[in-house]
Point group: C2
Chain length 347, copies 2
């Protein structure tokens, strides 16, 4: 029986269409083939094919823009926004008028190449390597926000052609915006309202609710809860949230970083065991730069599998139709851990 | 140079990334192959393969669920929402609590098969036939809203696999919801605010602005303005809006219906001349059922070509990146009319 469920963090309704209830094997996915080579700008040895690096981790004797790096951050070759668009008068006030408001395309757009290995995946990285990736992200978070002109950092990963990856070599993207974008502003407002009504963090309450309830929990570690949200928009949608209250990804501690690396690796492995070539987006939801959001916001990651198509109904109404109940999705991903244990891949 | 633009009807910012500016021939599209046959439930003669029809147009002597129809409306075989979910107590009050609110999956989900011809397209329909399609939609609009339990009708078309069409035979879908969905509620609120501030309809002002400005106009007829919106989310996004103030699609007059049929046919033709197998969504934006929205809302259609992927940035931030400036898109679609004239397909 179909059911409408509301996401308490966005006030958005989702149709959980259990009549169509789908398990991993019910989805048909296009096969993706990969090939490393001289053409891949993200492969080791092809450093000249990208804009110059802005940050990298590697052995101490390595020179910038040469092989041997472990993690490498470069400007996007085709940036959506650019630092050079900062207006001469230093103001971002809108030009145009009410019906045609505009701002300069000021911001930054970077690519974090997770590994020199063309065939690496979220699951194939070692936990230690993923820890370096996260530490590099935190470093970029602080460096890009440092001069006070930036309002928000959107970190995301497009994995697979269907999910928007134009290059198959595993990478993350960073877009820094002068102001908090629509989704962040909306989520902030809802969390703020909840805090005013209850004197509590909406997300802390949600963690308690989901951990107590259990049926949507995929994994719980020392520092993170991994769960299928009650109003999942996408089949097998998974959220990762720090258990202690923290408004910004920029606050990630060393201990949390290593723990989160294990969480991401295992989640990647669960998905690889459940699906062949699953396309997905991984998106960071964090507070804007600057003070004011400490009490009520709580950063988290959303992994959004792209098994369904965002079509006319979704674009027209803003509702999503999800053919897999999150309880069934969580059970299925929990069960995948058994296969992980048998395969000796549980960490 | 990239630029941020704001859609005045949604307050959503879009990145117009002109550095990547793309003309129709710059997009690569997967080739779609079509095959009519015994398996297509929407083909003439296969009426038994669908749920029973709820409405049809055809010759007077035709029996329901037999061949010979011109336009046919059936329940969706896998409905997202169902009339049978109406709760026994007649109330839709939310179950669950604040963190897990739910409603029964009450509503309706129908399919309008536009033509018995498997190979028909928006452009290949005659204007007279499209007029029948629109009249059937208006009829379903009133019939489904008639009993007072429904809040909103979302009409949409998914064309092409990438745009979410699971069946290739041309059709529209109708989902009726107990309440106005997120996007409609948001657009209503913004239009209402504008009306309170200016005493004018936001959309009437927008029509005047775009018609005066001209560079984003694709076509203007007696009753409709066809234009590329200033903050287009998608390359070649096109809106069709009635020039006289009308809050609901249910008010469409016979004269408007015939005019809109010509607009849709020519827009379809412009897109077919510009792209091979363009996937797109066509979504209706109209006021909810019932009184109260007459003064400030103004229905319209949005045609959303699916040339770009809704990826991690869009899902995370709610912003869109559009590589084709709407001014260039409008010029390109206007120019296609020359080819239409040469091909004798201008009406």
């Amino acid at each position: 029986m179909p059911e409408l469920r509301k996401d308490p963090t966005t006030d958005t309704w989702v149709v959980i269409s259990q009549e169509r209830s789908k398990r991993p094997s019910d989805f048909q996915l296009p096969k993706e083939t990969k090939a490393a080579g001289a053409d891949c700008p993200f492969c080791d040895g092809n450093e000249a094919k990208t804009p110059p690096e802005v940050y990298a981790l590697g052995p101490p004797d390595r020179q910038p823009n040469t092989p041997g790096w472990w993690v490498r951050v470069v400007s996007n070759k085709f940036p959506a926004l650019r630092l050079e668009e900062w207006p001469a008068n230093g103001g971002l006030e809108m030009g145009g008028f009410e019906l045609a408001a505009r701002m300069p395309g000021f911001g930054a757009h970077e690519v974090l190449i997770e590994s020199p290995d063309h065939y690496a995946t979220l699951a194939s990285h070692s936990q230690e390597h993923l820890d370096l990736v996260l530490k590099a992200l935190v470093r970029r978070y602080h460096d890009l926000g440092g001069d006070g002109r930036m309002g928000y950092m959107q970190i995301f990963k497009n994995w697979g052609h269907v999910a928007g990856a134009s290059l198959e070599h595993t990478h993350l993207q960073i877009i820094v915006l002068p102001r908090a974008p629509k989704t962040a502003a909306h989520k902030l407002k809802i969390a703020q309202d909840y805090y005013h009504r209850h004197g509590l963090c909406l997300y802390c309450d949600l963690i308690k609710f989901e951990a107590d309830h259990g049926e949507r929990v995929i994994e719980e570690t020392n520092h993170f809860l991994v769960f299928a949200p009650y109003a999942s928009r996408f089949p097998f949608e998974t959220w990762i949230i720090p258990k202690s209250h923290q408004h910004s990804f920029g606050q990630l501690t060393g201990e949390q970083s290593f723990d989160l690396s294990g969480v991401l690796k295992r989640l990647g492995r669960r998905l690889e065991l459940s699906f062949e070539d699953l396309p997905y987006n991984l998106v960071w939801q964090t507070a804007p730069y600057g003070p004011g959001h400490e009490s009520y916001y709580h950063w988290h990651l959303e992994l959004l599998p792209r098994l369904t198509t965002i079509a006319g109904f979704e674009l027209g109404s803003g509702y999503y139709i999800n053919p897999t109940a999150p309880e069934a999705a969580a059970e299925s991903l929990r069960e995948a851990s058994l296969a992980m244990a048998f395969a000796g891949a549980s960490h």
